[in-house]
Symmetry: C2
Subunit: 125 residues, 2 copies
């Protein structure tokens, strides 16, 4: 069970940032109408507005480099909590930005997972 | 509702780090037998072992300085997700350490909240 959580959580993280870095528009499929994103303190509700926010971020190309992934079962929901830290390289920028992000993944009726909660912060230092 | 989540989440964070910095032994009351802590990648289950881990950390005095607190409702559980970033000053150390931590707070039958999920990471830079 615990290994399963770890495997699924890590697979999600790799999938998420691969989509983010190669086809950001397709990320909306990972969210639903109930989803919540807090991006650098700004609260956004629902897959449509979340997709809009992600697609309007003021850079074209980026690459996420993951440093750590921690996963835990979210017992009451049958879901998974994922905590990520890493570096973000924006096109044309010399220095990478450090970030932390957490996801609360919840099972869909079809048996896959969607992002119910997403909190993103740059770690200024 | 959203303001309530924000208020309760922030009050929890202030309470948690105040206890941590002044009376670390009393933190065990915030966890239950089902609680999970992942501390720098190490997984610990249950209030007793979590209290042991926190009390055996290799420093006596510390102070947490909070930089950001983000809160979201955890819809299926009636709980709250809290994401914290900040700096940690250890006694006798010149430089502060940057950290990120997330909590999943779940209502108890008595109507208060306990920490079901806790993930802590230092942000090396």
């Amino acid at each position: 069970m615990e290994e399963q959580v770890e495997l699924v959580g890590r697979a999600f993280v790799n999938h998420y940032y691969q989509l983010f870095d190669t086809n950001r528009f397709s990320l909306s499929s990972l969210y639903q109408a109930t989803s919540l994103l807090t991006f650098e303190g700004q609260k956004i509700h629902g897959a449509d507005d979340i997709a809009l926010k992600i697609n309007q971020l003021p850079f074209d190309n980026c690459m996420h480099f993951i440093t750590t992934i921690d996963c835990q079962p979210s017992s009451l929901t049958g879901g998974i909590l994922v905590f990520v830290s890493g570096n973000l390289q924006l096109a044309g920028e010399e220095h990478q930005l450090k970030f932390s992000q957490m996801f609360h993944l919840i099972p869909t009726v079809e048996g896959s997972l969607f992002v119910q909660n997403d909190i993103f912060r740059l770690n200024y230092g």
